[in-house]
Symmetry: C2
Amino acid sequence: MNRTNQLINLLKVKYPLVQAPMLGVTTPEMVAAVSNEGGLGSLPVGLQSPEKTLDLIRKTKALTDKPFAVNLFAHDMPAIDVAAISAIQDKLVVITNRYGLEHPLVDIEKLQHYSYREQVEILISEHVPVVSFTFGVIDAESIQRLHDAGIVLIGTATSVREAKQLESMGIDLITAQGIEAGGHRGTFFFDEPLPQIGAMSLIPQVVDEVSVPVLAAGGIMDGRTIKAAMILGAAGVQVGSAFLRSNESLSIDNYKQVVHESVDTDTVLTRAFSGRWARGIRNTFHNEVEKLNLDFPAYPLLNDLTVPIRTASQKLNNKEFTTLWAGQSAHLAKLKTSAEIVRELIAEAGWSE
Amino acid sequence: MNRTNQLINLLKVKYPLVQAPMLGVTTPEMVAAVSNEGGLGSLPVGLQSPEKTLDLIRKTKALTDKPFAVNLFAHDMPAIDVAAISAIQDKLVVITNRYGLEHPLVDIEKLQHYSYREQVEILISEHVPVVSFTFGVIDAESIQRLHDAGIVLIGTATSVREAKQLESMGIDLITAQGIEAGGHRGTFFFDEPLPQIGAMSLIPQVVDEVSVPVLAAGGIMDGRTIKAAMILGAAGVQVGSAFLRSNESLSIDNYKQVVHESVDTDTVLTRAFSGRWARGIRNTFHNEVEKLNLDFPAYPLLNDLTVPIRTASQKLNNKEFTTLWAGQSAHLAKLKTSAEIVRELIAEAGWSE
């Protein structure tokens, strides 16, 4: 329990349980509910403007006085090849037209991207206690500034090598993301095939190779999976899919329904929505984009193009043209409040005794 | 411990630990060592002639009076398109010539295949106590005959659906093979993408859906992984990679060395050696065959073609043209006797107390 105590002290939480930041699913209400129950909620602000970032943080703070994490996307800013991106948008229009889906076009000339660097000052001035990030490592200057402000940093790794890199940069905690996990892969070394390491292999090997506490992610849904992760050496766990069907989730009803009906083999890794690999339940959009054999542009350019399609799909409660991010055990997610989910996990893990 | 006791009683072993059948790696000596220490050794006889099968069983029996399993390949017999197979062999010759490797050609007209059906009578007459199988489900008649002879049957599943199929056929125990596992995938439903479920997701979901005891496979290397698997609901574990570097392993020295030096991301799934998906450490042959974009023939036809290449490579202690099957945690395998490995696993699992 040494590493767990270390993690609890660092995060100033009651239980070593982190709710995964799920952009498009997680709300300030979800974050606050998890933190209020003694876990650590995580507020995703990747891709958001400084104004929106501030607004989301303040909304969360209004709902909890407990610590929560703010999650950044640490990718580089993409160069925009307008012709190439327009050509991709044209191909997407063919798909949405065929299915009669409304598709407000993106003005590629006016695309605007925000870097996490623009968010760092806000995090500091808002006294956010914990900052987590994925898709890379934030730069040394940002690490320094956040650390100087007393902020605890959590990075995401999908391989031992990535975990070692995070530790060498001075990151305080590492989330080891097993292949079971839903949503985007946190992979940031692209000079080798996408790491696809199962949690049973990843967690113990990461724990062996780094000295900072490790959070296990991927397939953590209930007491048995929490206990298994801890026995593998994790100091704590990060839970995502378990909150997909919660009251505080942004998922449309048909998303919640298909998660409930899914089986272990229904999720696949796809680049169809954002250009980055992510795990979700296969649907029509996914299949159609795969047929295009796209030369995927740098993140988040494809994401920019698919946002209006996903929004239109969600408005119709149509699950076929929106992201259905889900882990390999998402089937086990329950229709409850986030607070109930946290309390149940804590009880099943044996932490409430 | 209910399911574990059920498993121990069924297998008549002291500990719920099965050594994975690894064709080309496992020897009668390995099997006997594991069984003599109270686990269940597994003798792979897939693809072998009835004579060779009998010989291997008798060799094992001469080394142990404890129960062991004999492992069958349950695939169908392939139809042989001589022209198509010859064309593939021609392509392989280009590769081996380029690297100056000896390559005795296979006479495709004379290819001979043995069905597990030819082995069933031997298993019965030799009073083999346990028969495991992979690559499918043995037919209902074979199940009946083996069961009538009092033989316990173990099938392999890579998804919940496969596990349910095995249970519905009357199989006594199911090995749930997580994506972490080395060697061939046991997948036998081919109407959907290859299941790639991590053990953290597969084990609990299989346990929830079948009532027979489940053996966890994939990433099981030491006490922590055994304990994690048991907490996830497994009745016992199957261990493969942990024996790769054992004294009783057939692996050449350079195979043992590269396993030792490997990291989590070094293994990949490939069809290069047999036409069936299997996990191993990437090498030259693997890369070269991938470039050919083969239309893979039915199992074991590509296997037939690569056996002479692998044999030639092994004779030279050359790891580049032979199979380097290994799981995602194979790096943790130790250079010890199989008996020492079993004793260590049992002690670490807390079973020896």
